[in-house]
Amino acid sequence: MNPAEAEPAEAEETHHNPSDSPQQARFRREVRQWCREHIPRDWRVTQSGVDEAEFVRFQKAWFAELHSAGYAVPHWPAEWAGGPPTRGGDPVMSVENQDVLYQELAAHDAPRLVLAFVGIHHAASTLLVAGTEKQRRRHLPAILDGEIWVQGFSEPEAGSDLASLRTTARRTGDSFVVNGQKLWASGARHADWCLLLARTDPDAPKRKGISYFLMDMSTPGVDVRPIRNAVGDSHFCEIFLDDVVIPADNLIGAENAGWQVAQATLGAERGMTMLELAERLAHAGFRRLVETAPVDDPVVADRLAQFEIEITGLRGMCRRVVEGAAGGPADASIVKLYYSELLQRLTDFAVEISGPHAHTALTKPMSSGWESGSWVLDFVGSWEWTIPGGASEIQRSIIAERGLGLPREPSVA
């Protein structure tokens, strides 16, 4: 059976978290009720194999639905999220409740926010940490109205070694003129704005000559070309920049301090978003796998149990990161590495035990997670986690150097 035709997995209504406070238990009931009333029952079927226009429409509608319930940007400060006032800078929703929210969205197999991701996480955290009041007022409300963002960091010669990027931004009066090429810009075709790193001082050491810009994607000279990826879709894009003029007002942080701004905001996706992904791996992923696996085969059962243990450990690590417990300097890398490779192992195993029929799932539902149940596509797609955002090899070096204090690789002269 094509997994896309399967009924949405029913959430375990009997499941209640014994560690819930009375307040969390109340909130959990509220979210469950909302999920039952608002998650489109048949979205996995209706969103299978749809075209880009329908995908964008569905994503924007789902974002608006979540936002009207107060569930789209629970991590934003209340001042910007539009909720009741909280203590300065506190998120509009408590971390404990965000935890519950993501557990329940995963348990009810809600569609994922794909298009809005960069906007509500990277762009928002960049604006909140380093933006001017004017920049925040211009963009944060617009993001809530559906403004789509893309990240323009990587280049053909600057992947894992991001600091060697070559795109240049030359100051001319009140503006910068940008030339170069960006790669792996996910969702660039639909983006309204771009978080752009470009070199403003070619003579400075490589990390000290980079600036961070907000770039309007409709500016003349911006040319987006989709790249077909390993699973056959084209959300990764190249962005060609030919004499693109960016007003100096759109510089974020100080000129030549772009690397520091990027470092401060790049980790924005690593806390709560990782918890959300871990919950999805547990619910949409593991539960779906158990429902279809030949569990009476002791070898299969043993492997499944090992996955359940590993997923439980991952959820524990993510929860600890979001709850802000005193952590290690490499926690973000540990979580990213472990999630990526666990996703790869799990989807690999799912393909292995699903037989040739797994290969007949030629599409996966758009807006689903990384474990849609179209296991072969999920498996091939798992490299989208182990390569971008700091490949696994880079993460291991970070863990060893920052987490364990091992000496750096001697630099090449």
Partner: protein, 334 residues
């Protein structure tokens, strides 16, 4: 939540670490005097009134030191077993906490005929030298503990390759039983086994932490090809993998410890912690031996002691495969 205890826990950890650094093989009296045996015994009975959360800290430190102590059998399991027996065992708990009675817990195949006990068990921790043994029995009226003077039993040391644990075989041949203590809860025997599994998991976590620290310290100073070997990616990435697996174990063990301490349903969390932490400790100790190179393979380096203890821990109170089987039973009912 745990923050209120952080300072107390740090102090407990430091004191235990110091004690084990001075003497890796503290005797029974030393454990009593240090307050370890009575840690979980109510204050009214002469104990410290702490919980398994504190016991877990000591177990972790003992694992780090590969300490040869009777703490598991004479402390952790004895106190857990007596506590499960309710008010009837209070006098005994007090005697144990004060060091007047040394006991060990026996899981095995035993049958009670009137007031006579027969049966056999292997790999019983810390039974040699105990005054009384607490033998788990099941009877028509419910499970409980037969309290038997060790002189009425045959208790024989059972040597294993790991020289840091003391195991024994226990044989009862129509042995007279002093008292039978009934368990208040019919899940008590299973909960006690979970306590044992989690205790071993804590010990293994300590072993893994110690082996990672030792390895990191070594690869930072050992030079080959003109640079510290820890600067080579093959070496540093192996260390990173050790840390990642330890972090996963740490979360699973913390969850299981919290449930044991709170008296919650420990079955699933204990199985996960035991399976993961004991497997990880073997892998980490093995990798530690590898990354220490030739030195690591010498008797002198002591790494072998941690590897053997980790391997024994993995086998005691249910192998990882047995624990995973327990988890997997839940899948087929779906």
């Amino acid at each position: 939540m745990a923050d209120d205890f952080t300072e107390f826990h740090d102090e407990l950890r430091a004191v235990a670490g110091d004690l084990l650094a001075k003497d890796r093989e503290p005797g029974w009296q030393e454990l009593v005097d240090a307050g370890w045996v009575g840690l979980e015994v109510p204050e009214g009975l002469g104990g410290a009134g702490a919980s398994f959360a504190e016991t877990a800290i000591l177990l972790d430190q003992i694992g780090r030191a590969a300490g040869a102590t009777g703490y598991l059998g004479n402390g952790v399991l004895t106190v857990g077993a007596l506590a499960a027996a309710g008010p009837d065992s209070e006098a005994l708990l007090g005697q144990v906490a004060r060091g007047e009675q040394r006991m060990a817990v026996v899981f095995g195949e035993f049958a009670l005929d009137g007031s006579r006990l027969s049966g056999h068990a292997e790999f019983v921790p810390d039974a040699v030298g105990a005054d009384h043994l607490l033998v788990l029995i099941g009877s028509a009226t419910g499970a409980g503990l037969a309290v038997v003077p060790s002189g009425e039993l045959t208790v024989a040391a059972q040597p294993v390759l790991d020289e840091t644990r003391r195991l024994a075989t226990v044989t009862a041949d129509s042995a007279p039983v002093a008292t039978v203590l009934g368990f208040a809860d019919d899940r008590a025997a299973a909960v006690l086994l979970d306590r044992a599994a989690v205790a071993i998991a804590c010990d293994s976590l300590g072993i893994a932490e110690r082996m990672l620290t030792a390895t990191v310290d070594y690869v930072r100073v050992r030079h080959q090809f003109g640079r510290p070997i820890g600067s080579f990616q093959a070496v540093k990435h192996a260390c990173a993998d050790m840390l990642v697996d330890i972090e996963v174990s740490r979360r699973l063990v913390a969850d299981a410890v919290a449930l044991v301490a709170a008296g919650g349903d420990t079955e699933i969390a204990a199985a996960m912690a035991k399976a993961h932490a004991t497997s990880t400790a073997v892998a980490v100790a093995g990798k530690a031996m590898q990354l220490h190179g030739g030195i690591g393979y010498t008797w002198e380096s002591g790494i072998h002691a941690f590897l053997k203890r980790a391997a024994l821990n993995r086998s005691l109170f249910g192998s990882p495969a047995a624990h995973r089987k327990k988890l997997a039973k839940r899948y087929s009912t779906r």
